[in-house]
């Protein structure tokens, strides 16, 4: 009954091994993620360019404080990459340490974002400006949260000794995802925080 013991069962694997399907699939998925952010950026651009809304209006978006947060997230991209580099050098302990560092930096970022929500002085229900500010940063925050979960899983697997230079697709995928989240943030920070209406 079980096909696992079926002798006729061939390995289901790609014929073109030059391209790793899981990484290609992740990149295609990230294109679709970028399009999801694109929908919200489209709304934002429409609001500012076509409707001519003064951004951020009477609201105060703390660009200076958030620039430090941006630095923290950019730094975490490097620590994430170091984890991968340590894996290629077969330093399993370092892999765990760098992942942990990335996780901590990401968690600090998320914590500071939540703190910003608390002190920013307006809510998603305040005008379209508030709605799109909270939705864009919130959608990104959800992605950071998913990234943190993935990093946690990466650490669990690192402790279980599941990563090796030969089997590292999962870790590579986590790091690509983390870089994506980082890049989206840099873009978001630039247009939402640093581009006030003159």
């Amino acid at each position: 009954m079980s096909a696992a013991t079926d002798h006729s069962a061939p390995q289901i694997q790609p014929y073109r091994t030059g391209l790793r399907p899981e990484i290609l699939g992740l990149i295609i998925f990230l294109v679709s993620e970028a399009a999801l952010f694109g929908a919200f950026f489209m709304y934002y651009a429409n609001l500012r360019v076509l409707n001519g809304i003064v951004w951020p209006g009477e609201f105060d978006i703390p660009a200076e404080a958030t620039s430090i947060n941006t630095l923290i997230l950019v730094l975490s991209s490097f620590t994430c990459e170091f984890a991968l580099l340590s894996l290629y050098k077969r330093k399993n302990g370092a892999v765990f340490a760098w992942l942990l560092a990335t996780f901590i930096l990401g968690a600090i970022f998320l914590g500071l974002q939540v703190e910003e929500y608390r002190i920013v002085g307006f809510t998603p229900q305040d005008e379209a400006t508030g709605a799109i500010f909270f939705t864009l940063t919130g959608l990104h925050g959800v992605h950071v949260f998913i990234g943190l979960v993935l990093l946690l899983l990466g650490m669990i697997r690192a402790l279980a000794g599941r990563w090796s230079p030969e089997r590292h697709s999962g870790l590579l995928a986590i790091s690509i995802y983390w870089h994506f989240v980082d890049i989206v943030w840099v873009l978001l920070f630039t247009v939402v925080y640093c581009l006030p209406s003159s």
């Binding site: 696992a4 289901i12 014929y15 699939g25 679709s32 929908a39 489209m42 229900q125």
Partner: protein, 621 residues
Amino acid sequence: MTAVLKPTLARCLWVAPAFAALAILITVAARSIFGMTPVLQESTLLTVAYIAGGIGFIVGIGGFDYWFTWMKGGELDPNDHSQHGARSWGDYFKFNTDHKVIGIQYIVFTFIMFLVGGMFAEVFRSELARPGQQVLTDQQYSGLISQHGVIMIFVFMVPVFAGIGNYVIPLMIGAADMAFPRLNALSFWLLPVAAFTLLSSFMFGSFDGGWTGYPTLSEQSGYGMTLYQLGIQLAGASSIATAVNFLVTIITMRAPGMTLFRMPLLVWANLATSALVVAATPFIAGAQFMAMFDREMGTHFFTVAGGGDTLVYQHIFWFYSHPAVYIMILPGFGIISEVIATHARKPVFGYRAVAFSSAGIAILGFAVWAHHMFASGMEPWLRVPIMLSTLLIAIPTGIKIFSWLGTMWGGVLRMTTANLFAIGFIFTFVIGGLSGVMLAVVPFDVSITNSYFIVAHFHYVLFGGSIMTIYAGFYHWFPKVTGRMYNEVVGRWHFWITFVAMNITFFPMHYQGLVGMPRRVADYAPEFAWSNMVISLAAFVLGASTLIFVYNMIHSARHGKKAGANPWGGLTLEWLLSSPPPIFNFPATPRVIGGPYRYGEEGAKHAIVPEVEPATVETTV
């Protein structure tokens, strides 16, 4: 007892409600801790219950079992095929990783949804048969037309092509399965959840703002509107997951020797469609998120009073939904190329032009969305560029039409039911295409906007286009899927009744629209009585003709005569396997040695399938 613990539908029955109940508990707890009033906000609780219940259903069916092992840091066996292949009836109701099983699950499920959506149409056609209101209230009428549109588009036409592609594409490219079999199964099982979410909105007064769900209508509707927004998210997630899978499968898993220009045209069409799905579907997700936040959280994305912009919903919505039109027809184009080449015994005329025109349609498809909004009061400068790009997109479509005509020209046409549907499709699709070109012209569009002319146009391209190709595909691959032939005589009856009834149903709508009958209204002026009666009668015949098809498929699958491996004499890879194909498709890695449509060449072959895997063959190219 163990049946409720194993990944089965039985497990769903308790896991899904458990998830929903848990989510409600957490929400109530959170609301009371943060002091939100009222604590028992009904719409919020329903929404979280639907989301969590949907996830619970997927967990119950076993969608996450494998990944859960990964998450725990467990060791995985990439060659664990225990969920692969159907050995009995019951396997079709389980989480199955075999692309052939998933293809059948998709096709059967979406076809049932087609019947459901068709029933809605029959109900409101009986309302429209005579002036005045006899059967439905305005509210019910609006609910039914909205449901009809949404069910047909999101749980029939988009996913049924994913189903046909699922069955055929891996066979056509010589692969053992899709690249991500578990993701594939997951994307199928999202569909019943989406369908349940959409259909259950009837319990809350349904959504009644039309299938487009425009604000401000959507913000005033009852709770059913939120379920529309959720259901579309689920169906969209399913189609993105499938598209990622198709892209990776087609890019990485083609058999040795299958270069891009040796791919069958259905594979090309699916490549273009999947790229469209990946890039466009998130936009409708974004639009629905914003609309849902407006409804459920009181944000002001689309409410002008709160500084929002109502029109931008339409921009974002059509930025997906226009490409969606091509998502619903490009795979159909691919099917028609396969069917006509095989049944005319000739190579496809202008193979490369057809392949590139698929890509061209996919790219141009992103530049035409605003032609749905000519009359909406959008920025006037956008009108002319969009009109031009819309007219431009007729060119790659025309290339395909001429390719099919050129393929048939001088061929030895076999008038099987599959080919009849393909030829009928060209006829009706050209009518729909021509009215599309008319609608692209701004002054014409503005003068007949929101009339029955629009209804006539999109039913000619969706019924006369997509559904005819779906039927052609069903008949063409029926022998491959079941191993038996369908009844040709019954099939021809089905074709002719469908074709004639379809034209009588939708052609008079052109006239009605031109003289000013508005769509989406349950009642109409007395001068339309005669034409509406004709349309309604034809619609009933059209509905009945579907039953002929259902009978033919069910009866022939059990009692039809044996088909053999290759009843049509096709050259593409799927015909080189037995019917139905073995559980793991190819006994050994096939090698592709020529183009896919070398009909008419003496002894020409597209590919060779060795009987056993030679020990020395290098399978990486």
